[in-house]
């Protein structure tokens, strides 16, 4: 009788997701009156056990097997399944990260149990549990009931904090147990076979800074001031549909519903009115700076920051200011 938390880790580091998962598990376990157990899959994760304990794992199971040398959704899921059975876990929980959702899905499929992904609230009941989960990237909440002898769930990313049991970071006594699952080659098929760091350089969708231009840029040549700033910030130039349609930029630069969805740290939207079609592609930016001559432009209203002026004056001035500070 436990809440079993899958502790996500990669190459010797405990993932932020694991800390969040433990934070989410603690009140749930308390409500159920059961302990929080954590599982670290793979011998090389053993050194992470203390951290797991510090964040709330009353027992940390380190699953060891020669087929657990690296991440593999099948092997991780099968291991967790066997441990869950061994512990007669009430709940198996992780965070809705790529791996968290993947392993839980495999676990649920192998167990013949339901799996509720990306929960923001879990209310245990005697009968089916009441759970709220997110849909549409958080635009909607879905209330569901979950009827299952073992509840398999992930917590929506960032729905839980990542604070240790003792706010002063005092260590918690570690209770570590070894677990040896029974695995065969059939679960090792999906194992990571290698890694390459040869990711392409920043793309529009991954660039940390995007400078977008719209109708207000006025011409293909007008984008030179955007290029200049993008280069200084090692960002990328994007554009609105108006710019693409005017033939000023290729479609691959188009940010929006029919273009690329971006999620940079900063999006500087210059001369873009902010049609919804564009907004949908830009809304995931962490901060938006709008530069527009029209204070009523939609983009200005939706931005975090705005400069109400002509982009052809503002952007060169920003570039100049950056160069000035760097030279200084």
């Amino acid at each position: 009788m436990t809440v079993l938390v899958l502790l996500e880790h990669d190459r010797g580091e405990l993932a932020e997701a694991a800390r969040q998962a433990l934070n989410a598990a603690r009140p749930l376990a308390e409500e159920l009156g059961v302990p929080v157990h954590g599982v670290l899959v793979g011998e090389d994760a053993a050194p992470l056990a203390q951290t797991a304990a510090d964040f709330g794992a009353e027992v940390v199971h380190v699953a060891t097997h020669e087929l657990l040398s690296d991440y593999g959704p099948d092997a991780w899921a099968e291991t967790t399944r066997q441990l869950g059975d061994a512990l007669d876990a009430d709940v198996v929980l992780s965070v809705g990260s790529d791996r968290g959702n993947e392993v839980m899905a495999h676990l649920a499929a192998r167990s013949g149990l339901p799996f509720v992904a990306n929960c923001s609230r879990i209310a245990p009941n005697l009968g089916p549990w009441s759970i709220t989960r997110i849909q549409w990237g958080g635009s909607l909440l879905e209330d569901v009931t979950l009827a299952a002898p073992r509840k398999i769930v992930t917590i929506a990313h960032h729905a839980a904090a990542a604070t240790p049991v003792h706010p002063d970071c005092r260590a918690v006594d570690l209770r570590l147990e070894r677990f040896e699952p029974e695995l065969d080659e059939s679960v090792a098929v999906t194992m990571i076979r290698g890694r390459d760091g040869q990711r392409r350089g920043s793309t529009l969708s991954t660039a940390p800074v995007v400078i977008g231009g719209g109708r207000g840029v006025g011409s293909a040549d007008g984008f030179s001031v955007l290029e200049e700033l993008a280069e200084l910030l090692q960002g990328r130039v994007g554009c609105s549909r108006a710019a693409t349609n005017n033939g000023w930029r290729p479609h691959s630069d188009q940010v929006g519903q029919t273009g690329t969805r971006i999620s940079p740290d900063v999006y500087i939207a210059a001369g873009i009115s902010g049609a919804i079609q564009h907004w949908v592609g830009a809304m995931a930016a962490k901060k938006i700076v709008a530069i527009n001559t029209d204070p009523d432009a939609n983009m200005v209203a939706k931005a975090d920051y705005a400069v109400i002026a002509d982009l052809h004056e503002v952007l060169p001035a920003i570039s100049e200011e950056i160069r000035r500070r760097r030279d200084a």
């Binding site: 693409t244 005017n246 033939g247 009115s273 939609n298």
Partner: protein, 849 residues
């Protein structure tokens, strides 16, 4: 941004092309203290302007649409937000090729450069057109592509910079407050309520595009339009287009027979369609800015509706087949039941103005119309009667009617529409007491704003032979187009009336009554001619605009000491009623009643009319005892007993007789009595083909909306009387001034001297604005810029000629001047036959003895 105001002179609702241009024009005209709001963000608040194809074809058969299209194109040019890319309407069928000849004719009328191209010549302009599927094209170099969003922004900014308007985007209108105005039975705007606050306002203008009716409803008014889908797909990239390095490098192609257009947009092609099934949405079904995936008026594309158009587009331009469909929408635009815009003060709520059902192509011009109307009391740039929102009767204002009529004409957006084309849907909305009798006579009904009026009676087919109509040159016509919506029976009816007599149903007359101590004085304030005459007098009179142009022409009768009856035509009833109510004194001294539904009218004319009527009444019907223009109350004997009627000795056809007014319920008995009495006098039911057309035109009688428009004054129309009454009236000052100078133009009747075209067929100009040309084929434009064009056309059976009416510059307006008329792109010789008079019985002997 300024603080949200609590009061304003004008609140304009809607910052699309119309609202923006309106505040710009109003600011130019000196208006200040305006507020412009829109529920969406700027510069594209999400209405139809934001997804418009933004091109202007300046040729239209309709005068308002054509001239305001040109006017709008010029305004965009003036702003520097326009490119003259040219445009070609291509024909795939012989019928369309004929229509393109008519386009050439209209281009000539409105002074728009145009030429017809062979298929090969089309390909020289647009190399990617498959010449095998087209017969040729109509090329118009001044077709332009405009930036309507930017134009709106510039117009708005102009007004903002002038300090004339404060602009509030993302501000939703919640209510329009009004107070009742008991003196005229209407109400008046007092304030608007928005989610940002309440603004007391003297005027409110609804420029809300597809949402306009819903917004007007808030005040208790209607703007009869429906949001309709126009499908559009953007396909590309296409190399040959991209290589132009231009937003638009090739002329726009209108594939008229498939109701589609292909318009380059940078590296891709926009294919737009008016061919799909009519798809309408109630305004409540349009998503909000938040709910919409794109903008509210870019609704989800329904590809099944577009497949056929794709096939046809590929037929015409094979390259389109392999281009990617990057963007496709069911774009919303506004349609009205008669395909004309809705401009002017609403007929229900004073100071609530409509500037709606206007597309980008005519937006700046239509905005100017409204701005001038608000400023001067009537537009100066053009007579707006076709677009005047007051034109609609009640039965034209409900959704059932709007949807049915819009569904009928949507596919005619690029259709070939005959000038006399009749509606199929929503017929028999208003019928006279004789409707069943007329059906028994096999009447061919023409519809007029819902009213059913017999154009001719097929039961009179025997008259064609009896009067030898074909031998006189008025038999069936050589071309199907000229013969469509026409019958030689109407000539038989005409000749029978001239020889015996005919009975015409005039029940569609709109009859109003002014009553009260101020009625006569108020009536005189409306009319040019004197109304304050003895009881029993009638006055035919123009009403003028404040600038002295024609506002209406009608008959006013003093039926009692404190009562004036007003009789006007069916096309102007709504407009005239509103004009009256709007100007009524607010002291309660005049009341207004619409008597149309109470009073039926019959016209009995012809040399035998006095004998026929004489059998039913003992009243003195002689010219001396009952002179032309007099009114008498009489009793008419019918099988159902005596019927009280008002006889008005007047004629619109040139033969003596009477308009007979009676209670609606007495109509059938009256009709039957007249036919019984008339049987031995050759009476025949006679249709509008005689009354409104051949009889009228032979006599040179002017018709409101045709010969009579606000651009012309009574002096030019030949309707000025020798003296001007002492009492004041609307437009008096301008009228007095016009009388002091020689008229610049004069209304003339012309005869077509040879109707034979180059293929040896006799042709019949329809009265659809065909240009009058000099002998060497040049357009004729007077010093006020007004073009000479055919305002009415009709056969003249009694004079043996096809007749035209047109204004000519005074120097050309003399009898015997030889000119030309262009019709279906051919020129025919015409001769001026009458000025101020008529070609038939110019001495009015048949009328007045």
């Amino acid at each position: 941004m300024s603080e949200f105001p609590t009061n304003a002179k004008v609140v304009v609702v809607g910052a699309g092309i119309v609202g923006n241009c309106l505040v710009g024009h109003l600011a130019d005209l000196g208006w200040t203290d305006m507020v412009l709001i829109d529920k969406g963000p700027l510069p594209n608040p999400g209405g139809s302007t934001g997804h418009a194809s933004n091109f202007i074809f300046p040729v239209d058969h309709n005068k308002e649409m054509a001239l305001l299209g040109v006017q709008s194109a010029n305004q965009y040019r003036h702003l520097g937000l326009s490119v003259d890319c040219g445009g070609i309407e291509v024909a795939r069928t012989p019928q369309r090729w004929d229509e393109l000849q008519r386009r050439m004719t209209s281009a000539k009328t409105w002074g728009v450069e145009a030429e017809l191209l062979t298929a090969a010549e089309v390909a020289e302009h647009v190399p990617f057109v498959d010449t095998d599927v087209i017969l040729g094209g109509f090329y118009c170099p001044s077709v332009s592509v405009v930036d309507s969003l930017e134009a709106g922004t510039v117009m708005r900014a102009k007004a903002v910079n002038a300090g004339a308007v404060d602009v509030f985007a993302s501000t939703e209108l919640l209510d329009i407050e009004t107070i009742d105005t008991p003196h005229n039975g209407l109400s008046k705007v007092t304030a608007v309520v928005t989610d940002k606050g309440r603004v007391e306002a003297e005027y409110v203008v609804v420029a809300c595009g597809v949402w306009s009716n819903r917004v007007a409803n808030l005040a208790g008014a209607t703007i009869p339009l429906v949001p309709a889908v126009h499908q559009m797909a953007d396909v590309g990239p296409i190399d040959i287009l991209a290589e132009t390095n231009n937003e638009i490098g090739y002329p726009i192609v209108r594939d008229m027979d498939t109701f589609c257009y292909e318009r380059q947009s940078a590296g891709s092609m926009e294919v737009g369609s008016y061919a799909h099934r009519p798809i309408f949405h109630h305004p409540d079904e349009i998503p909000s800015n938040d709910e919409a995936a794109l903008t509210p008026t870019e609704m989800p594309f329904t590809p099944d509706d577009f497949d056929q158009q794709m096939e046809q587009a590929i037929e015409l331009m094979d390259m389109l087949g392999d281009a990617e469909i990057k963007y496709a929408i069911n774009g919303l635009l506004s349609l009205t039941p008669d395909a004309m815009p809705c401009l002017g003060e609403t007929a229900e709520v004073l100071h609530l103005w409509s500037a709606a059902a206007v597309w980008v192509k005519e937006g700046p011009g239509m905005a100017q119309v409204v701005a001038e109307w608000m400023t001067y009391g009537y537009p100066r740039v053009i007579d707006p009667h076709g677009a005047d929102i007051a034109r609609f009767y009640d039965w034209e204002r409900n959704d059932e009617h709007i949807w049915a009529r819009c569904a009928e004409h949507f596919n005619k957006t690029y259709g070939i529409v005959h000038p006399a084309e009749q509606w199929v849907s929503r017929r028999e909305l208003a019928t006279s007491p004789y409707f069943s009798r007329q059906k028994a006579y096999q009447a061919e009904f023409f519809e007029a704003r819902g009213w059913e009026r017999p154009q001719w009676y097929n039961s009179n087919a025997d008259l064609v032979e009896r009067y030898d109509v074909p031998a006189r040159g008025f038999g069936r016509r050589d071309t199907e187009w000229d013969d469509r919506w026409w019958s030689p029976v109407t000539i038989g009816e005409h000749l029978n009336l001239r020889q015996h007599c005919g009975l015409v149903d005039l029940s569609a007359f709109q009859i109003f009554e002014l009553r009260g101590p101020g009625a006569v004085g108020f009536a005189d304030f409306l009319a040019v001619n004197k109304i304050d005459k003895p009881v029993g007098s009638s006055t035919y009179t123009p009403w003028l605009t404040p600038d002295g142009g024609f506002r209406s022409d009608l008959t006013m009768m003093r039926t009692a000491i404190d009562t004036v009856r007003i009789v006007t035509g069916v096309f102007d009833g709504g407009r005239d009623a509103f004009w009256i109510r709007k100007h009524m004194p607010d002291d309660g001294s005049v009341s207004f009643t619409d008597r149309t539904a109470d009073i039926t009218t019959l016209g009995l004319w012809g040399p035998n009319a006095p004998q026929v009527l004489g059998e039913l009444t003992d009243h003195d019907l002689s010219q001396s005892g009952f002179p032309h223009g007099a009114i008498r109350e009489v009793e008419i004997r019918t099988a159902a007993g005596p019927v009280r009627a008002t006889l008005f000795r007047i004629s619109y056809v040139g033969d003596t007789g009477w308009e007979i007014y009676a209670n609606w319920a007495d109509g059938p008995a009256l009709w039957d009595a007249l036919f019984d009495a008339g049987e031995s006098h050759g009476i025949r039911p006679t249709g509008g083909g005689v009354y409104g057309s051949s009889g009228r035109v032979e006599k040179g009688y002017r018709l409101m909306g045709a010969e009579l428009e606000s651009e012309y004054n009574p002096v030019e129309a030949g309707l000025a009387r020798p003296k001007v009454k002492a009492a004041d009236f609307i437009g008096k000052q301008a009228y007095l001034e016009a009388r002091e100078v020689a008229p610049i133009a004069k209304m003339c009747t012309l005869t077509v001297e040879d109707q034979t075209d180059t293929q040896g067929r006799r042709r019949h100009p329809q009265g659809g604005n065909e240009p009058i040309l000099t002998g060497d084929g040049q357009r004729i434009v007077d010093s006020h810029g007004r073009v000479s064009r055919v305002t009415s056309a009709s056969p003249g059976p009694s004079v043996g000629k096809h007749l035209l009416m047109a204004y000519l510059p005074t120097e050309l307006a003399s009898v015997g001047t030889d000119l030309e008329v262009m019709y279906v792109n051919e020129r025919f010789p015409v001769r001026v036959a009458a000025i101020e008079g008529s070609v038939f019985d110019p001495e009015d002997i048949r009328l007045k003895g």
